[in-house]
């Protein structure tokens, strides 16, 4: 690793890890959360609560399978509804994990080290939640394999010119590559857990998962080569995924969807909501597990800066959608803009502007960026705002397309809400399991950071 001159950037040389840590102390602290820390009442309560919400999801899905998608609020002309809103929202949240683990790795940003592992886990869980929705939305999920190209006895094949098939490939590739990237990153840490575990079953499980990793010079050399390549591959992949998701809309001719600004503005929005979710998770986690030494205020501030930057790109996207509807002079586009501002769903649009454009402007102020409670609240507001954005895009356009005879209204049913809440429960429950079952911070990378920081600041060279 070349020494990064990151200290020149900040006004004060605040370290990325609190001083006084050694290789052994970071290893101890992170691995003890998995190996030795007793199961606390807080964790149990949180797990029980989220587990019961997952039961709500099972109920909603079971009823859906029995009755069909008619239990949802969707109908012609609004065939997409909550399922697609939630799908786009969840998959966007996943993007920050890949951004942190891959893009910041390529850019040699040290602050990724202590947040990349759980951000990648967040990606996987968010993609799992996202993937549920298109499957459920097919109405007959047990036939979802029809979307894959396989030599069927009926002799039919998927339509490769359709963005919906692109989506199948993009999302499944994204899920696979994220999983591989995450697991490769975990191997050295699993070996650490294997070596430190005292209980037989822990030694066996971590022994099997770490596959005999020894950390030899040759191992590390190939490992770093593969890790760098995976980062390089995941970078264009993450940009492509939300681009392809936006094609689901932009390739159609529906007013409000058929615009070339969609891909960049979807990607920016994805990263925006993803970083908000990183903060939503990191802030309670660092407090609960005493990880303030590793996930410092400076890390949170850095996330806030990324949110501010991507939030401004999103604001630019909204502005250009608005501007182009006037500039194009297309009466359907103009009418759609009118409907956003004055139609039946206008409150959603104004709430969206409030959440996604106005609120993040607070992040210009350094005091706000360093106030943990404020950041937590802002992250929740932005998550809500991004969900509203997907709602506005899907619902307003579908309820107001070309012919007044094709207009309609959409309102979600209790089953829509139950499914959305259920995936939130599933996501949180998986996070609860993750922080107890696997090292939530990349231990080997933290050791490397300790090494770099001690040499960068200590003046050995």
């Amino acid at each position: 690793m070349s020494a990064t001159p990151n200290l020149r950037m900040g006004q004060e040389p605040e370290p990325w890890i609190e001083p006084g840590h050694s290789y052994a102390s970071v290893t101890d602290k992170i691995s003890s959360a998995v190996l030795t820390r007793p199961v606390g009442i807080g964790w149990l309560a949180g797990f029980a609560l989220t587990f019961s919400i997952v039961m709500v999801l099972f109920l909603a899905v079971a009823y859906l399978f029995a009755k069909g998608v008619g239990i949802w609020g969707i109908n012609i002309p609004i065939g997409w509804g909550f399922a697609i809103v939630n799908f786009v929202w969840w998959i966007g949240i996943g993007h920050a994990g890949t951004l942190i683990s891959a893009i910041l790795y390529l850019l040699n940003q040290k602050w990724r080290t202590s947040i990349n592992r759980f951000a990648e886990a967040m990606t996987l869980f968010a993609v799992a939640c996202a993937g549920l929705f298109p499957l459920l939305h097919t109405g007959r999920p047990w036939m979802a394999y029809y979307m894959l190209p396989y030599p069927s006895t009926m002799g039919i094949w998927p339509q490769f010119r359709s963005p919906l098939i692109w989506d199948v490939f993009a999302v499944s590739t994204y899920a696979t590559v994220s999983l591989v990237f995450w697991f490769i990153g975990l191997i050295p840490d699993l070996a650490t857990l294997r070596d430190r575990a005292k209980k037989k079953w822990q030694q066996m499980i971590f022994g099997m998962l770490s596959m005999g990793w020894r950390g030899s010079a040759r191992h590390w050399h190939r490992y770093q080569s593969a890790y760098l390549l995976l980062a390089g591959l995941a970078t264009p992949l993450v940009l492509s995924v939300h681009t392809v998701v936006s094609f689901d809309f932009a390739v159609g001719i529906v007013p409000g969807w058929h615009t070339t600004i969609f891909p960049p503005y979807f990607v920016a929005g994805a990263i925006y909501s993803g970083f908000a979710m990183v903060l939503t998770l990191a802030i309670p986690m660092r407090a609960a597990y005493g990880m303030q030494d590793f996930i410092t205020r400076r890390h949170l501030e850095q996330c806030a800066k990324v949110m501010l930057a991507t939030g401004l790109i999103v604001a630019y996207g909204y502005f250009f959608e608005f501007f182009l509807s006037f500039y194009s002079g297309n009466k359907f586009d103009l009418f759609l803009t009118h409907q956003r501002l004055h139609g039946p769903y206008a409150p959603y649009y104004y709430a969206l502007l409030l959440c996604n454009i106005l609120t993040p402007q607070l992040l210009w102020i350094r005091k706000v960026r360093r106030n943990i409670a404020a950041l937590f609240v802002i992250s929740l507001v932005i998550n809500t705002g991004m969900w509203l954005e997907r709602f506005v895009i899907v619902v307003i356009s579908l309820t107001r397309d070309f012919m007044p005879s094709a207009w309609g209204r959409y309102s979600a049913t209790v089953w829509d809400y139950a499914t959305l809440a259920g995936t939130l429960g599933l996501f949180t429950m998986l996070i609860f399991l993750f922080v107890r079952g696997l090292p939530a911070i990349a231990i080997s990378e933290m050791r490397e950071l300790v090494h770099q920081e001690s040499h960068g600041n200590g003046g050995h060279q």
Binding site: V177, V180, D195, M211, G215, A217, S225, R447
Partner: protein, 182 residues
């Protein structure tokens, strides 16, 4: 079970800092040993070169995996859309290659990523649950904060006493024989 036969795998020295390990590794190679291996809790710059490891096939294999994925993805789309299941929709071209790019791209990334991960594991000969170095008790620290250098017995120059002495002269903190139990 039958009695355990054990044979010497090598001799292992322990160091406390990566700098000491790299320096010692270089010295051991200068002394003429070829079969040596260093073990560290995190990647240490210059160590792979010091043990005499220069080239890995991972990048080349990844490139080939990417090419195979991309060609396979596009080939599948072309074969499906133009040959086996052609659909004439308003006379539009069957080989509408522009629309095939997203899937081609995704398959390229998928092929390359899977090959990168699998080739790394395979070339490292993982999974490999047993390895003689695990028999050294202190080796558990190789995944925490200690740095190890092992001179292997299969080296032509190997002699237990001499190799141990060399490690001692390099200020290795603990020197252990590594036994391979069969």
């Amino acid at each position: 079970m039958s009695e355990k036969r054990s044979q010497l795998f090598g001799v292992m020295g322990e160091f406390s800092t990566p700098e000491d390990l790299v320096a010692a590794t270089k010295k051991v190679r200068e002394a003429g040993y070829k079969h040596i291996e260093a073990y560290t809790p995190f990647p240490v710059e210059g160590l792979a070169e010091a043990v005499g490891f220069k080239w890995t096939a991972v990048p080349l294999l990844t490139l080939l995996g990417g090419i195979a994925g991309g060609v396979g993805g596009f080939g599948l789309e072309y074969w499906v859309s133009a040959i086996t299941y052609p659909e004439n929709i308003g006379g539009r071209p069957l080989n509408s290659w522009v629309a095939f790019i997203p899937v081609t791209f995704e398959m390229t990334v998928l092929g390359a990523s899977l090959v990168a991960a699998i080739s790394m594991l395979a070339l490292n000969k993982l999974p490999q649950p047993y390895h003689p170095v695990f028999n050294v008790e202190r080796f558990a620290l190789a995944s925490t904060d200690k740095f190890f250098l092992c001179i292997e017995a299969r080296d032509a120059k190997f002699n237990l006493a001499e190799a141990s002495k060399l490690l001692q002269s390099l200020h290795a903190e603990h020197i252990n024989e590594v036994k391979d139990e069969e």
